[in-house]
């Protein structure tokens, strides 16, 4: 399969996970890799289960869906309960501890980070929790470069929100670094 990472970003509709998936896939292309992004969503614009899937690799990507993610972001308890068991052996779950309290035992790594809380308290807008999450996922997995991620982010956000998004990304990055030094 070559060098290939499958990511699933999951949570509730309205958390901006599909946009996060698009930015992640875009960043991979800016890094010169191949990537693909697909989504699954309900009829609701807000609420309901939502997930974005991204596959990043160097080769041709045939099947565009993710069955066993190497990287699983869960931003709601419901998403965690639903998807945790799909994790590929040796994969990593990044859980937003703001909303995910209970995590099952998995054959892999678990990072619990207060993603939404950080967005709310330190940026003042929970809306950017998806960007905080992106920063954390990128830092933990190394699947995209920070430069490419920043570029992709700036290209896909509304004008005038550059500053808070930049800050959110930085916070996610830091959160992951702290997490990896023992907060887990």
């Amino acid at each position: 399969m070559g060098d290939r990472t499958e990511l699933r970003l999951s949570g509730t509709g309205g958390q901006g996970l599909i946009l996060a998936g698009i930015i992640m896939a875009d960043a991979a292309i800016r890094d010169g890799k191949n990537s693909i992004q697909s989504q699954s969503y309900g009829p609701e614009a807000r609420g309901g289960a939502s997930r974005a899937e991204v596959i990043i690799g160097d080769e041709e990507i045939d099947y565009p869906k993710v069955t066993n993610p190497n990287v699983l972001l869960v931003m709601s308890q419901e998403a965690c309960d639903k998807f945790a068991s799909d994790l590929a052996s040796g994969g990593v779950i990044i859980a937003d501890s703001t909303y995910v309290q209970e995590l099952p035992a998995v054959d892999g790594q678990i990072c619990k980070l207060p993603i939404s809380q950080t967005a709310r308290e330190e940026v003042g807008r929970e809306m950017v929790a998806n960007v905080v999450a992106l920063g954390a996922v990128a830092r933990i997995t190394g699947v995209v470069s920070r430069a490419a991620l920043t570029e992709a982010l700036m290209a896909r956000i509304p004008r005038g929100t550059e500053e808070i998004n930049r800050k959110a990304l930085e916070l996610g990055w830091q959160l992951a670094e702290q997490g990896s030094t023992g907060v887990l």
């Binding site: 875009d26 292309i29 010169g32 693909i36 992004q37 697909s38 045939d62 565009p64 869906k65 069955t67």
Partner: protein, 381 residues
Amino acid sequence: MSRVVELARLMQGNEAAAEGALAAGVRFFAGYPITPSTELAEIMAERLPRLGGKFIQMEDEMASMAAIIGASLAGVKSLTATSGPGFSLMQENIGFAAMAEVPCVIVNVQRSGPSTGMPTAPAQGDVMQARWGTHGDHPVIALCPSSVREAYDLAVRSVNLAEKYRMPVILLMDEVIGHLRERVVLPSPDEIEIVNRRETQEAPADYYAYRADETGVPPMANFGTGYRYHVTGLAHDETGNPTNDPDKAESLLLRLHDKLGRNLEDILIEDSRSLDDAEVVVLAYGATARPARQAVKEARRQNIKAGLYRPLTLWPFPTASVDRLARQARTIIVPEMNLGQYRIEVERTVRGRASVVGVNRVNGELIAPGEILQAILEVVK
């Protein structure tokens, strides 16, 4: 950064179809919002006025289809986009476009049905509707992309074929490809072949609106250019005027079919993978071709002589190619997100010379590579 990396971009299937249509010269879009095709309308609403073109959101899909026929008769390349329920509503006017020979393109991003079904979930349940959705024997061209880049290319091609053969062309996408975002490098404008309708060279007094030459396609005269003639969905003679003459009515219908029949080489396109020595052939189209390709690769790794045949032109049916497969393969596996709509056509052509096996899903989910691989393993057991 190399040039290719620089030009590479993440693009959605629906966006690619819209951009392809624009690149082919579409300057009129009429549509009605429906999941999962709405992005096409949104992109057109934003892009067309910038190109001097027109977008209109009509009151329903019947009106949308009618409006693009009107605009096309007035000389503007025209497009609409919809999904299942809207596609059903368009059928009568699609028949009109076939009968009156009006170039136009309909993008149908298939979703789970029947009826309202699962609006956000994919399906390939409109394959037969694309062929026989409108009443009466009518010609149709339907193209089916399996990737974002192909959505772009086939959108260009749909517009070209519509113009060349003066008929409605259906770009039959599905929700997976429509909403999929992947890396694409688009062709530069000078790499894109653009076909425009052939306009008549006759003087107005000598012009017969429906007299075909050796191509089978009558040269066209756009409304407002000095050629006054009649366009109708009634059976008509070479002037365009209605007729009840059985011979004239029949010769019209035969010509409508013949203009495809005599140009199949130009219309049919296909793709294949590891087909040369294949004993088991997976025949797949649209999103389903992607897990099919993965399954074939995996089978090859297991030293199974499997191959992929992928029709990009679904209609007219690629009879000659499937006939070849029937002679070559022991088994043809047809995975589809429907209950076997295309498989029936494959069986009809294979006529028992190979076994034909379906892998079918109607649960709103894309078939997984493992399911197709399983089917391959079973037939070589």
